[in-house]
């Protein structure tokens, strides 16, 4: 098991800069997720680490070993990097039985035949596919194929595991199940893992570290809760979960836990963000689920109590999704235990100052 260090990686495709100076480190045994919309450069980054793309700049280290460096002209070929990889379409070889698919990496490493059989059995056991070794991939379900792909990637105990959107081909229910199973597998085997996905929920559930990428650059890097609760900018706040964005001007800057007051149109909202100066423009990001909606007015003195009118209310099962107007601004709120509301009805919303996040330089 090794850590992975990526320094200042650059990759161009003609005029397009796909990866624009990316650096991050995956500590030993941790799972780092590259999260971003399609075309953000996450898959290219993974392919560079795997050895399928040649970078135009930057270094990749696995442990102390330099496997790719544009400046030092080092490019270890994919088959000598000792990595494991699970592909989006699994990439199981259709002409080989499950057992031979899993054994392939060991055969390439010249492992003695006697050891291979045992290792393959253990790997299939790890992914709960005992007894299916004689089947062909086409005779397995999507979820089972997925597990074979994992067994194949893990069987030779690679230094690092690379996952390229491995869950995106599964249906919703199976995907949810596999998420947890995968995370457990990773924790159990303690393998350093880089995971690529565009699904923020997947990233939240599975990661130790999330790297949010956009247009070839890193927007934010941090723990899942950090990225969700304190998005660094509007892109992160918008991409990770749903957010309301309200632009305003700081009228009173708080220090420490003291509250900062921001004037948004005719409303004044309070938040606990510090480090913004009075008079500066900020963007407030508010999660719909952090707003408490009620037909009753909240007690006098409740901070951030807003009276809104309902534009549209959609019943979504446990949640009533509300599109509201307040002081000329639109906000989206998740209401709980509310009657079905007609358009034009009045509703009271209050927001905990701690869950409002002020992003600096908010005009965008």
């Amino acid at each position: 098991m090794q850590n992975v260090r990526v320094d200042n990686l650059v990759k161009r495709f003609g005029e397009v800069v796909a990866v624009d100076g990316i650096s991050f480190e995956v500590p030993k045994g941790k799972l780092l997720t590259l999260l971003g919309p399609s075309g953000c450069g996450k898959t290219t980054t993974l392919n560079i680490i795997a050895g399928f793309e040649t970078p135009d700049g930057g270094d990749v280290h696995v442990g102390e070993r330099l496997i790719s460096s544009a400046s030092e002209n080092v490019l270890v070929p994919a088959h000598k990097r000792n990595l494991g990889m699970v592909f989006q379409s699994y990439g199981l070889w259709p002409h080989l039985r499950v057992r031979d698919n899993v054994a392939f990496g060991l055969q390439m490493r010249k492992t003695p035949k006697t050891e291979i059989a045992g290792a393959v059995e253990r790997a299939l056991g790890l992914v709960r596919l005992e007894g299916l070794g004689e089947r062909y991939p086409s005779q397995l379900s999507g979820g089972q194929q997925q597990r074979v792909a994992f067994a194949r990637a893990l069987v030779y105990e690679p230094d690092v595991l690379l996952l390229d959107e491995p869950l995106s081909n599964l249906d919703a229910a199976l995907r949810e199940e596999m998420r947890l199973e995968l995370k457990e597998l990773q924790t159990q085997s303690g393998i350093t893992t880089i995971f690529v996905t565009h699904d923020q929920v997947e990233a939240m559930v599975m990661s130790d570290i999330i790297v949010v990428m956009n247009e070839g650059r890193i927007e934010q890097m941090g723990s899942p809760s950090d990225v969700y609760q304190n998005p660094a900018n509007q892109f992160v706040a918008g991409f990770v979960g749903i957010s309301n964005f309200l632009e305003g001007e700081v009228v009173a800057a708080g220090v420490g836990d003291a509250q900062t007051a921001v004037k948004v149109g005719e409303m004044t909202l309070f938040c606990t963000t510090s480090g913004v100066s009075e008079g500066s423009r900020v963007l407030l990001s508010i999660r719909p689920e952090d707003c408490v909606a009620s037909t009753e007015a909240p007690p006098e003195g409740t901070p951030n109590a807003i009276e809104c009118s309902v534009d549209k209310a959609v019943y979504m099962g446990g949640v009533l999704e509300l599109w509201l107007s307040a002081g000329g601004r639109k906000i989206r709120v998740h209401g709980h235990r509310l009657p079905i509301l007609e358009s034009g009805a009045t509703i009271h919303v209050s927001i905990d100052p701690a869950s409002i996040n002020a992003i600096k330089g908010g005009s965008s």
């Binding site: 050895g51 399928f52 994919a78 088959h79 494991g84 989006q88 379409s89 990439g91 259709p94 002409h95």
Partner: protein, 564 residues
């Protein structure tokens, strides 16, 4: 699919009966004929089978046929697979030109390759051997083309493209993830090619090889020129010899056809199965990808040289020979201006070269025009029912229309003779029997051409017409036929050109006054009329080249209209 009205059911049955008759009636007579002493008698006997196996030359013919077929198939794989890999998976320069190998069988029919190589490879005066003697300063020829080795060489040149076509498709459509997975697992480039790429292409290679095997039994021109000149008789030329006898030995020919028919049928069955497996290995629904190319480094020039050499010997040298022969005053003269002449061309056009040449061209044009038109009309109906119908008989129809692929042209001809020389047809020594043979032989190609283009037409277009109130006939004529027209025209051209140069059935069926271009070509070759052979061959090549261009243009029209 909308529910077809019952008039359609009648049409479907009618179509099945017609195709069933066209394909099965001659086969029925072929089998029956092998148990009869002659076409007039009604006696049942096994004499023909005893007789052919007691013939002393039979062992030799079978041995020759086996050596030739296995040799040609193996050599074709050895040529076709590396070429496919070079084009499909490497960074070899000029790949787009090398890819022309795929259309080579259409441009250079076996009869053309055969006569050209006969002129190139004769030990004493063959151009390649003359060049070698000059180059090496020796009196010994480099090789003799009129040997089993020469026969296999020329046939493999002609048939290797079939292996190429199937294999290159598999290489190009392979999911690159499968190879990336091997790399990540620790396999280097060569291990990946050996353990992943080639095994996954194996069904496609097998499929191409089996088709080549069938073709090697089917092709008549090369054994009839290069083989016969060297005294090597194989199955097809032996059949011909039986039919040349006076009187022709119908029963022996029929009896000899049956085992070959079984072998071809078996090979075709294996080929379809291999093709099915290949499709499972190489296609991922709704995905298109560009496979990773292997960087060959300096080896790419070796690859280019290999491909260029193949194109040189299979196409360029033969065509140069034909051009030389068309314009040179006397064979053997250097191609300098003083020895060039248009005389041979004028002779052919004015009929001074023999009225028979002009007549054969007229006959070929008539047969090909009629044959292609009737054939494509039949194909269109069959293709429609096979692709669109929900009728349970469509599988049978599909199968019936495929059968002729497995029947060598010579065997079709023998079957035609048995079936149509009797009442109520009496077609012996007419052009009509040749016409029916052509339509039967090339039906599978017509069906495939039209069904490819019908498959591309979205079914909703027909449903929309049906919902708007159009009955089946209106949908077929007003919607389907116009949309499928490029495919239908392309199919017509393919049939036309195939019929223009058909030899293996024609050679058994033609009679005096009823010659066609290819039979005259063989006749002229036997008479040693170098220039006339070259001119007729060149006409076939130019005609083929023109139609390839036309077909390509037409298929492009379909793509542009976005009917997919």
């Amino acid at each position: 699919m909308f529910r077809l009205p019952s008039t359609v059911r009648v049409l479907e049955w009618g179509c099945l009966l017609v195709i069933g008759f066209v394909v099965l009636y001659p086969l029925f007579w072929l089998v029956l004929g092998s148990f009869r002493p002659d076409p007039i008698s009604t006696e049942f006997t096994l004499d023909a089978y005893y007789a052919i196996f007691e013939e002393e030359y039979m062992g030799e013919v079978l041995w020759n046929t086996a050596v030739m077929s296995v040799g040609v198939t193996s050599l074709s794989v050895l040529i076709g697979v590396p070429l496919a890999w070079i084009v499909g998976r490497t960074d070899t320069p000029l790949k787009n030109y090398i890819n022309m190998i795929a259309i080579l069988p259409f441009i250079m029919p076996p009869v053309v390759v055969a006569v050209a190589w006969a002129y190139l490879g004769t030990p004493r005066v063959g151009f390649v051997n003359l060049f070698w003697k000059w180059l090496a300063g020796t009196k010994e020829p480099l090789f003799d083309i009129f040997t089993m080795g020469g026969l296999i060489f020329v046939m493999a040149l002609s048939l290797a493209p079939y292996v190429f076509i199937f294999t290159v498709t598999a290489f190009k459509n392979m999911d690159p993830t499968l190879e990336n997975a091997a790399h990540v697992s620790g396999a280097n480039q060569w291990q990946t090619t050996l353990w992943i790429t080639l095994p996954m292409a194996a069904p496609a290679i097998l499929s191409g090889a089996l088709l080549t095997f069938i073709q090697s039994l089917e092709v008549f021109a090369i054994p009839a020129t290069i083989g016969v000149s060297g005294g090597i008789y194989v199955f097809s030329t032996q059949l011909w010899r039986m039919m040349l006898g006076i009187p022709p030995n119908f029963s022996h020919a029929a009896a000899m056809s049956i085992p070959i028919l079984l072998v071809c049928g078996l090979a075709l069955w294996g080929q379809t199965r291999a093709l099915g497996r290949s499709a499972r290995y190489t296609t991922v629904a709704g995905k298109s990808f560009r496979p990773r190319l292997v960087e060959l480094g300096p080896w790419k020039y070796v690859a280019l040289a290999f491909a260029s050499f193949y194109l040189l010997v299979s196409a360029i040298l033969p065509v140069l020979t034909l051009i030389y022969g068309t314009f040179i005053s006397n064979r053997g003269r250097p191609p300098t201006f003083e020895y060039l002449t248009l005389g041979h061309l004028v002779e052919i056009i004015t009929g001074d070269g023999g009225a028979v040449i002009l007549r054969s061209i007229q006959n070929s044009l008539f047969l090909s025009f009629m044959g292609a038109t009737i054939g494509i009309a039949l194909s269109a109906v069959v293709a429609y029912f096979v692709v669109r119908s929900t009728w349970k008989g469509r599988g049978t129809l599909d199968f019936l229309a495929l059968i002729p692929v497995a029947i060598p042209g010579a065997v079709i001809a023998i079957a035609m003779l048995w079936a149509y020389i009797r009442e109520p047809f009496n077609l012996y020594h007419t052009l009509w029997i040749i016409l029916i043979a052509y339509i039967t032989r090339f039906l599978p190609f017509g069906v495939r051409s039209v069904s490819n283009s019908i498959t591309q037409i979205h079914e909703e277009l027909e449903r929309a017409a049906a919902v708007s109130g159009a009955n089946w006939g209106v949908v077929f004529w007003k919607i389907l036929v116009p949309l499928a027209m490029p495919g239908i025209v392309a199919g017509w051209i393919i049939l036309f050109v195939s019929m223009m140069r058909e030899l293996s059935a024609s050679i058994m069926l033609f009679s005096s006054n009823k010659e066609v271009i290819s039979t005259i070509l063989i006749q002229l070759y036997d008479e040693g009329l170098f220039s006339h052979v070259c001119i007729l061959s060149l006409i076939i090549v130019i005609l083929s080249l023109g139609s390839v261009a036309l077909v390509r243009w037409l298929t492009k029209q379909t793509d542009v209209e976005g009917l997919t």
